[in-house]
């Protein structure tokens, strides 16, 4: 940059950033404070510095048992498995589809692309009952696999959309080169395209992971057994009509958020690339 901006502009910009960031962080910090405060009630004190700090809430939330069976551990495991499986299933389904839609002009391609996007318009929560019946018919009720499949289907359209956009930006010449090098379609896909699509795969995988990690209505409906519960269902029950334990909820919320926030930060440098190429190319 040849010219440097005026001091006033620099100061104002940073001021604006500080204010907006504080606004963005306030509810999050509020959770942290509630988690560390000994009371289970929602405090009306708007300042974030509270008196006594304790980790008791975390202990209470983590140390839950169902007759010798460590519930929190099982539920954490469930959440991890479901979310990972969702991301995995979602990626497997979406990657090949996104690639085919990006590359090959087979009859019905446009219709297929629209069909994927149209499924984004189905009102999800209302489908809980039909899904319950369906999973029961497939014998997948109460199994994490069933839940992962359900989540994957909500994650797949978005993934297909993002990945197709990203594949569109990969030059076709690379595949042609590989073809001339004697690689089959599959080899080209696995050895040339997929390694190049890593940023998009990471971002897409993360979003699928989050879909599963954060969902509670379907989980609450489709899982009957507390040992099969995922963490959001448990968290939700801390503040249901039966009575609210905000301290436990907040502690649980932090435990639930840490993994996604960590993944988010780890992958955020890919976001810009992975997301916008999808957006630009539509």
């Amino acid at each position: 940059m040849a010219r440097s901006p005026s001091t006033l502009r620099v100061v104002l910009t940073h001021l604006a950033l500080v204010v907006i960031t504080l606004l963005a962080l306030y509810p999050v910090l509020w959770v942290v404070r509630m988690a560390l405060s000994p009371s289970q009630q929602f405090s009306s004190d708007p300042t974030l510095l509270s008196g006594r700090l304790t980790l008791q809430n975390f202990v209470d939330v983590i140390w839950t048992f169902d007759g010798g069976y460590w519930l929190f551990g099982a539920q954490l495991f469930n959440s991890l498995v479901v979310a990972t499986a969702t991301a995995g299933v979602g990626l497997v389904l979406a990657t090949s589809a996104g690639y085919a839609l990006s590359r090959w002009a087979f009859p019905g391609r446009d219709a297929g692309m629209s069909a994927f996007l149209v499924t984004q318009m189905f009102p999800g929560v209302v489908m809980a009952i039909p899904l319950y019946i369906l999973l029961d018919t497939l014998g997948l009720l109460d199994s994490l696999l069933g839940l992962a499949l359900v989540y994957a289907t909500t994650a797949v359209p978005f993934s297909v959309w993002t990945l197709k956009g990203y594949f569109d930006t990969i030059p076709v010449a690379l595949e042609e080169a590989a073809l001339l090098d004697g690689a089959s379609r599959w080899t080209t896909f696995t050895k040339v395209i997929l390694p190049l699509a890593r940023p998009a795969l990471a971002v897409t995988g993360l979003f699928s992971f989050m879909t599963a990690w954060n969902e509670y209505i379907l989980a609450a409906t489709l899982l009957g057994d507390p040992r099969a519960y995922t963490l959001p269902v448990v968290l939700q029950s801390y503040v249901d009509d039966y009575g609210a334990s905000w301290g436990h909820f907040a502690a649980g919320a932090i435990l639930v958020s840490i993994p996604v926030v960590a993944l988010f930060f780890a992958l955020q440098r890919y976001f810009v690339e992975g997301l916008t190429s999808g957006a630009v190319k539509g």
Binding site: P171, A177, A178, D181, G182, A183
Partner: protein, 345 residues
């Protein structure tokens, strides 16, 4: 190693026709350069040979074998793309060895083949870098190397030098020539740069709107262009075309004084190359508009009359001044049919 034969090759995309009946017989080891203006179908032809595009009609033979329906890998051809198409996530070594890796050759063999070629192309110090860490010229050489490692029957180069700067391009031209002499493999080289065509080719194929205009050695093309298109396309600066009428052993350029002693009766088109025009004597007269100095030579832009322009190349130092009127003598004149543009015998 193999010769290539194209027989009535057509390529259409829906209703648009890109290649219209290409006939070409290429001998084993020949260096063929395809030239033509942008969009004339050069890349398409190359891609048809490679198998990246389906051939609409006609036959393609490589080494005497019909390959129309063979997949690219079964044709054993190698291609260097204009963008090089190096795999960005693989090292130079893996890029070069990828074809062999895919063919499941033993690791040691791949290593040896890659290193041989790398030595040939001065790529040894770059072997463990990624394409992103290379300069344009280096990438170009890697792309060449990748094609060579496979020892294909035919090389296909699609404008391989067009992304390089002038001096590097010149250097690579020479190197390509060397390589070809060493490998003796059939090459199809696409370019729109006629210098490249003239310097590299055993034979040049001039393509225009999907039709082959002329096939021949650089000399043949330069000395005996088959039509006005080839005449103007080959040679720089370009040949000037002037309408003329012949009668009884002399030809007169429309709208000008002075007659040229040439055979032919009736309307025709004359083609005059700047290098073939002698200044200072002769039947034609022209006024110098601009003088362009190129160092060893100068180009005189001449106005012969309304709508009649001509360029003449003269050695430097040149004493003429702009505005001066000079006499001109065309040493060689190409005569073309007035309507079809075909060369007249």
């Amino acid at each position: 190693m193999a010769g290539v034969t194209l027989n009535g090759l057509y390529k259409r995309y829906g209703s648009t026709s890109v290649l219209e009946g290409i006939d070409l017989d290429v001998e084993d080891g020949e260096y063929i350069v395809l030239v033509g203006p942008s969009g004339c179908g050069k890349s398409t032809l190359l891609r048809c040979i490679a198998g990246l595009e389906e051939i609409t009609a006609g036959t393609l033979e490589i080494g005497g074998r019909r390959v129309n329906d063979l997949s690219p890998r079964a044709r054993n051809v190698a291609m260097v793309f204009q963008s090089y198409a190096l795999y960005p996530h693989m090292t130079v070594r893996r890029n070069m060895g990828f074809a062999l890796e895919v063919a499941r050759r033993p690791k040691a063999e791949i290593r040896e083949a890659v290193e041989d070629v790398a030595a040939m192309l001065d790529l040894v110090p770059l072997l463990d870098r990624l394409p992103g860490q290379l300069s344009g010229g280096q990438r170009q050489r890697v792309a060449m190397g990748r094609a060579i490692v496979r020892r294909p029957d035919v090389f296909l180069f699609d404008e391989p030098l067009s992304n390089l700067d002038a001096s590097l391009r010149h250097h690579m031209r020479v190197e390509l020539k060397h390589l070809h002499r060493r490998l003796q493999t059939t090459v199809f080289h696409v370019t729109h740069d006629q210098v490249e065509a003239l310097t590299l080719a055993d034979r040049i194929v001039v393509l225009h709107q999907g039709v082959v205009q002329q096939v021949g050695t650089p000399r043949e093309l330069f000395d005996r262009p088959a039509n006005t298109f080839v005449g103007t396309f080959i040679g720089s600066p370009s040949m000037a075309l002037l309408p003329a009428v012949g009668a009884g052993g002399t030809v007169r350029i429309d709208g000008l004084e002075g007659e040229l002693e040439l055979p032919g009766e009736g309307a025709m088109t004359l083609g005059l190359r700047p290098t073939d025009i002698e200044v200072g004597r002769g039947p034609l007269r022209g006024q110098i508009e601009v003088i362009e100095s190129l160092g060893a030579e100068a180009l005189l832009h001449l106005d012969l009359g309304p709508d009649r322009k001509l360029v003449a190349q003269v050695p430097e130092p040149c004493q003429a001044q702009p505005g001066e009127v000079v006499s001109l003598l065309p040493r060689v004149v190409h005569r073309f049919h007035a309507e079809t543009g075909e060369r007249l015998p």
